[in-house]
């Protein structure tokens, strides 16, 4: 992977900033759940922070993103603001989706966060369409489809990758391979050793990277995004990672061997990135602490505002089903 473009110091700091936002936000969500403030299925992205952080620094507001139920990391990295996010998690009328979408359907078009789907694999066909629109617009925009290793085995993967490659669409297919599809290991669901090998079957570029490594993830994403912007078509990126909180909060993850889990935790990518940023002299420990403190304060402000906001009125059941309000 030595031939990949490397992030400069400012970019690496920005990747850290995004990863810190994702990590601290996730910790705060889990704390709110344990305090009984949030009653929702929550698919924690803890452990997968580096993938969207290192990818999103090469995206702009005009670029579009589709993700899945485990997607708050993707959304926050893309620019989803904390206020509407927390109000949505809290089911408030001030939420980005007026409390009608929730954790699995977060949407914020101004930041390019177009769809969060609760259905495995369904981010891909829609991102393909967003890529088609971007290609027709001719302004160099790209679309990103996030999904997991489990989604690589659903039919929508095949149809989407084939169509995107056939039409040379500016789509980045980001498979966040956290080694478990719900409770099933990668080895028990997939015969091929590297999902990126499937790209060749679609006439598309494919690469497997350590998604927990900011340099590798940044480099692979930068190449894919630059190629897409230049009209050279889609890329499949398989980003290897691990999830620390099971399939969803409440899942004790007894299906993960203790040693595997311990080893993954020992290689937690977030503190490793923090140590690296300090060791490389990109920021001092005090500066990093200040970044973290600022992020935590922003999160607390969003949490406070969310729980003080109004809950939706039942009249909302008649709104947004169609453009017109139901009788």
């Amino acid at each position: 992977m030595s031939n990949l473009p490397k992030p400069d110091a400012a970019t690496l700091l920005e990747i850290y900033r995004k990863a810190s936002l994702i990590r601290h936000n996730d910790l705060r969500v889990v704390r709110a759940m344990k305090a009984g403030l949030l009653m929702t299925p929550y698919y924690s992205p803890q452990g997968q922070e580096i993938i969207p952080a290192a990818l999103s620094v090469s995206l702009n507001d005009n670029d579009k993103l589709c993700t899945i139920y485990r997607g708050t990391h993707d959304m926050l990295a893309k620019g989803f603001p904390l206020g509407p996010l927390w109000a949505e998690l809290a089911g408030r009328i001030t939420g980005s989706c007026k409390g009608k979408g929730g954790t699995m359907h977060l949407t914020h078009p101004e930041s390019g966060c177009m769809v969060t789907t609760g259905v495995v694999g369904s981010s891909m066909p829609i991102a393909t369409g967003l890529g088609w629109a971007a290609k027709l617009d001719g302004k160099g925009g790209v679309a990103v489809a996030n999904f997991g290793d489990g989604a690589a085995n659903i039919g929508a993967f095949h149809e989407s990758l084939n169509l995107a490659a056939l039409w040379k669409l500016p789509v980045i297919f980001v498979c966040q391979n956290n080694l478990y599809a719900e409770h099933t290991t990668y080895a028990n669901s997939t015969a091929v050793d590297r999902l990126s090998k499937r790209a060749a079957g679609y006439g598309m570029d494919g690469v497997t990277v350590n998604g927990n490594d900011a340099d590798e993830m940044y480099g692979a994403a930068k190449i894919a995004i630059d190629r897409a912007r230049a009209g050279e078509g889609p890329t499949l990126i398989e980003a290897l990672t691990f999830r620390f909180n099971g399939h969803l909060i409440g899942d004790a993850a007894g299906y993960i061997p203790k040693e595997e889990f311990a080893q993954a935790k020992a290689n937690d990518p977030f503190p490793m990135l923090r140590a690296r940023v300090i060791a490389d002299g990109i920021a001092t420990e005090a500066e990093i602490d200040a970044i973290d403190a600022d992020i935590k304060a922003q999160i607390e402000a969003a949490v406070d505002a969310a729980f003080k906001a109004d809950l939706p009125d039942p009249v909302e059941l008649k709104r947004d089903v169609f453009a017109h309000e139901l009788a």
Partner: protein, 326 residues
């Protein structure tokens, strides 16, 4: 303005032609829709890619999920899309994209996004296409909040309603009848709004509520029984979801008797919803129980006598009317 005679396939083609000319952000998508592929198996899109470019009228691989997904994504990206799913039974292959995504994104996003796409599809018994190429499945979609369902009964309505569907800000499933594609009729080139039923024949004794293929036999029976002094009003729903309750209720309030006729299987069908609504709102004003006729409760069969027997017949319509007024 009635200008000429036209069949439904020509009317649908003209509607897309006029819509493509009117809106540069409109795209057509589906299997074989381009002229290199002869403009579709029935020729509905013939000439359109030549006239408007194959970047706007785009043939796809046989990938129903990707077709609807691409249509949804392009609509989120600022375009309008008419996506063709060749036959209605194949919507089953794309059900996740249609039901979980196209229909729900507006609501689940709190109105931040919407999906202005039209899914054109054809179906219908009468050509011995058997059990996986002939079903009317409109009840599945009418039961799904967020998607509109339209089924024209003649070429003028096909033109007007398809234009209306393309202009509509919400996803629309547009159901065309395959066996009657080539039947000519007087043609009017007018855009029609969705959600408005058409009282195609006025009467005072019985209301027949129908749509798509069953409108023509309903009208024929109405003409025949008029000679015996039975006055039948025929209401063509045109839009099945959301349906025009006001027009239907007003008609049945006037006649006091109602029969709903559709080609789709009767059980749990659109007729059940209409009958329930009429019972809830007009119980004391009904002179007879609301009746329904629909397809037999079996897959659409292949052999001619079976396929003919599957669809409600003019005789059944006539007998049911006679029972209502007896």
């Amino acid at each position: 303005m009635t200008t000429e005679t036209m069949n439904t396939i020509q009317a649908v083609n003209l509607a897309m032609h006029d819509a493509l000319a009117a809106d540069p952000k409109l795209l057509i998508l589906g299997e074989d829709v381009g002229d290199l592929e002869e403009g579709g198996v029935a020729g509905a899109t013939k000439g359109l890619s030549t006239a408007f470019g194959d970047h706007r009228v785009k043939s796809t691989p046989i990938s129903e999920q990707a077709i609807i997904g691409a249509a949804i994504g392009a609509s989120l990206g600022g375009y309008r899309v008419v996506a063709e799913i060749m036959l209605m039974n194949f919507t089953a292959v794309a059900m996740d994209m249609i039901v979980n995504h196209a229909a729900k994104l507006r609501f689940m996003s709190g109105g931040q996004t919407n999906v202005p796409i039209v899914i054109r599809t054809m179906t219908g018994a009468g050509m011995s296409n058997g059990g996986q190429h002939s079903d009317y499945l409109e009840a599945w979609f009418a039961h799904t909040p967020g998607i509109k369902v339209v089924a024209p009964s003649n070429p003028s309505d096909a033109y007007g309603l398809l234009r209306g569907a393309i202009e509509d800000p919400d996803p629309v499933l547009f159901i065309e009848n395959l066996p009657t594609y080539w039947n000519p009729a007087p043609f009017t080139r007018e855009v029609l709004p969705l959600g408005k039923a058409n009282v195609v024949r006025e009467g005072s004794d019985v209301t027949i509520i129908s749509y798509a293929t069953m409108v023509a036999p309903s009208l024929a029976v109405a003409e025949q029984l008029a000679g015996e002094g039975i006055s039948i009003e025929v209401v063509d729903l045109r839009t099945i979801a959301p349906w025009d309750r006001e027009t239907v209720r007003a008609s049945v309030e006037k006649t006091g008797r109602a029969l709903i006729v559709h080609e789709a299987v009767k059980e749990f069908g659109v007729g059940a919803e209409v009958a329930a609504d009429l019972n809830e709102h007009l119980f004391g004003k009904l002179k007879a129980p609301v009746r329904r006729l629909g397809g037999a409760f079996c897959p659409v069969p292949y052999s001619k006598p079976l396929e003919t027997a599957f669809v409600p017949s003019s005789d059944e319509i006539e007998r049911t009317i006679r029972g209502l007024v007896a």
